[in-house]
């Protein structure tokens, strides 16, 4: 069956009691796409992924994955997808090869095909010479790569990666990124990646959906998302922001001015040229510039614009603003 989209959801919803974890999500992901779901912890990324991989029942709406309905045809969905869970899900007492062999058996692969495919996937993730060591001797990065290999064992059409680089060091993260990229480009697998690392989504994904409180609040190519925030941002720390914001709003070079915690965020066209002029204006009105910085929009700024908070590793409660001048100037 040739599906129009790799994934298509309609009003997909999951409630846990009163908490709406995923709220009427409509999403279309193309065949061959490397799609990112970007959001803080608790935004609903994992819940959405679990519903699409049929291990969690939605409370409303439906979805088609690889052309199969998640309600009516869960077994076909499961056979068509590979999944790498956020937490490790390997058997530490088995070797790498045995973990892959278990997987191949569970997906009904005959012996000869299993052996052949195990060699292939081990090569893809570069674990061939550690394949016969027990998984309990593996490092975090090796475990993650083995899980990616396992996700590929049964030739899935779609691969879900739930926070694949969580807890990995910077170097290992790079290795995983390159492998994910090549899986998508060389093996032509549709990849759905969830992450709360902005740079990961920016670097890897063709399109990014920003998810917050269970809703997709923005969806486009990373570049297009950034372009929507036209211009640069000048952040200025002043003693009397309230008085100065009114004056600066009258200036022609300032497109938008906002008071943030202890200063001003000014949206301008050419930040480098605008900054000295802005300082002159402030001084001419008797104000004193304590600190000034200039930033170009990042995906993080896009994120802040749509969700009103910075993305943090600590958890959903940590939506606090970052210190002044550290970026993130689109904060409301």
């Amino acid at each position: 069956m040739k599906a129009k989209y790799a994934i298509e959801t309609r009003g997909l919803t999951k409630k846990f009691g009163n908490l709406v974890a995923v709220d009427r999500v409509n999403l279309k992901i193309n065949d061959g796409e490397l799609f990112g779901l970007l959001g803080p912890n608790g935004a609903g990324k994992t819940t959405l992924t679990h519903m699409l991989s049929t291990i969690l029942q939605p409370t409303g709406g439906t979805a088609r994955v690889a052309g199969f309905d998640i309600h009516d045809d869960p077994d076909n969905v499961r056979a068509a997808i590979g999944i790498v869970f956020q937490e490790f899900s390997l058997d530490n007492r088995l070797t790498g090869r045995e973990n892959l062999d278990f997987h191949g058996r569970m997906y009904g692969m005959p012996k000869a095909q299993r052996e052949e495919r195990i060699k292939e996937v081990l090569k893809i993730v570069g674990l061939t010479n550690r394949a016969d060591a027990l998984v309990q001797t593996y490092s975090g990065g090796m475990k993650r790569r083995l899980e990616i290999a396992r996700g590929l064992m049964h030739y899935p059409k779609i691969l879900f990666l739930d926070e694949p680089t969580l807890g990995l060091d910077a170097q290992t993260r790079r290795v995983v990124w390159e492998q994910v990229k090549s899986l998508n480009e060389v093996e032509k697998i549709t990849i759905i990646l969830t992450t709360h690392y902005i740079e990961e989504a920016d670097y890897l994904c063709h399109r990014v959906g920003i998810i917050d409180n269970g809703k997709i609040v923005a969806l486009d190519k990373p570049e297009a998302l950034k372009d929507k925030l036209k211009g640069d941002i000048v952040s200025i720390k002043v003693a009397e922001p309230k008085k100065l914001v009114a004056i600066l709003r009258k200036s022609r070079i300032v497109k938008e001015a906002k008071i943030v915690r202890d200063g001003l965020h000014l949206q301008v066209d050419n930040g480098g040229k605008a900054l000295p002029k802005l300082i002159d204006i402030i001084r001419s009105h008797g104000g004193q510039v304590l600190e000034a910085s200039l930033s170009r929009p990042t995906l993080e700024d896009v994120f802040i614009k749509y969700t009103g908070k910075a993305i943090r590793e600590e958890g959903p409660e940590s939506g606090a603003r970052r210190p002044f001048g550290m970026g993130g100037p689109w904060g409301r």
Binding site: S53, T54, I55, L56, P74, D75, N76, R78, A79, I83, F85, E87, F88, S89, L90, D91, N92, R93, L94, E98, F102, H103, R105, M106, Y107, G108, R150
Partner: protein
């Protein structure tokens, strides 16, 4: 995806775990001999009753089987703890087959222990099924006890999340079942209320059946089984089937 392949895959994994957990492997293979030596020889020396050792062997077999079987469910809790359960749950296979594979794995380990014990009883204290038929009967009862209580353990394990709580809860359940099974004292001479409780205890029918098979033509009063062997077999089979159904049902409800 064929049922046998899924069941075999899960069974194979349990076997690898059993063989690789060296401390568990060694202790579970030595344990039957210890039970027999301490409980059997020690107690029969203390109570100078004719045939007491013969009486004790089925009880020690029943005890070994119920402990080993119920405790084997703990593998489910480790699978949940280490995330491997998600790998199992997301596979396009029947949960009932997953449960059966695990049950047969636990049963194999229990049976291995039971057979070692039977061998030890024959070699060390000379208690042995008197005929091939009796031997097959003993094996059949051991298989039913194992499969029934492994399935019960799996059913509990599907509902319990804490691997530390699991053995505590299991001991809480095993102890009364064990003491009221007729393993260490004849149920026939117990007070009425205790006999009534014992008759609701599936392990009692297992121990009674093994005792009936081993006693053969023995006419020692202490070796007299409470029920005909077919009654024991029938009731134990019903228990076993009920536990498999319950375990299979609860496995379908597990979420990772």
């Amino acid at each position: 995806m064929s049922a046998t392949q899924v069941i075999y895959t899960l069974w194979l994994r349990e076997m690898k775990w059993f063989v690789r957990g060296k401390s568990r492997l060694i202790s579970s293979l030595i344990q039957p001999f210890l039970w027999l030596a301490i409980m059997g020889i020690g107690m029969s020396a203390a109570f100078n009753i004719p045939g007491f050792l013969q009486f004790m062997v089925p009880g020690v077999i029943g005890m070994t089987l119920i402990f080993s079987s119920m405790m084997s469910g703990v593998s489910v809790l480790w699978d949940k703890q280490f995330g491997f359960m998600k790998e199992i749950l997301v596979a396009p296979v029947s949960r009932t087959h997953v449960m059966l594979g695990k049950a047969l794995g636990g049963m194999t380990v229990s049976m291995l222990q039971g057979m070692l014990l039977l061998l030890a009883a024959g070699l060390l204290v000379g208690v042995w099924p008197p005929s091939i038929i009796a031997f097959i009967q003993v094996l059949a009862f051991m298989a039913l006890i194992s499969l029934g209580f492994v399935s019960a353990g799996l059913a509990f394990a599907s509902k319990i999340e804490d691997p530390i709580a699991f053995p505590v809860v299991m001991n809480f359940i095993i102890m009364p079942l064990f003491f009221l099974s007729g393993a260490f004292f004849p149920i026939g001479t117990a007070p009425d209320w205790m006999r009534a409780i014992a008759h609701a205890n599936p392990l009692m029918y297992g121990v009674d059946g093994i005792r009936g098979a081993i006693s053969g033509t023995s006419n020692l009063p202490i070796m007299t089984a409470n029920f005909p062997i077919l009654i024991d077999f029938g009731i134990l089979s019903v228990f076993c089937a009920a536990m498999i159904l319950l375990g299979g049902y609860l496995f379908r409800k597990i979420s990772a």
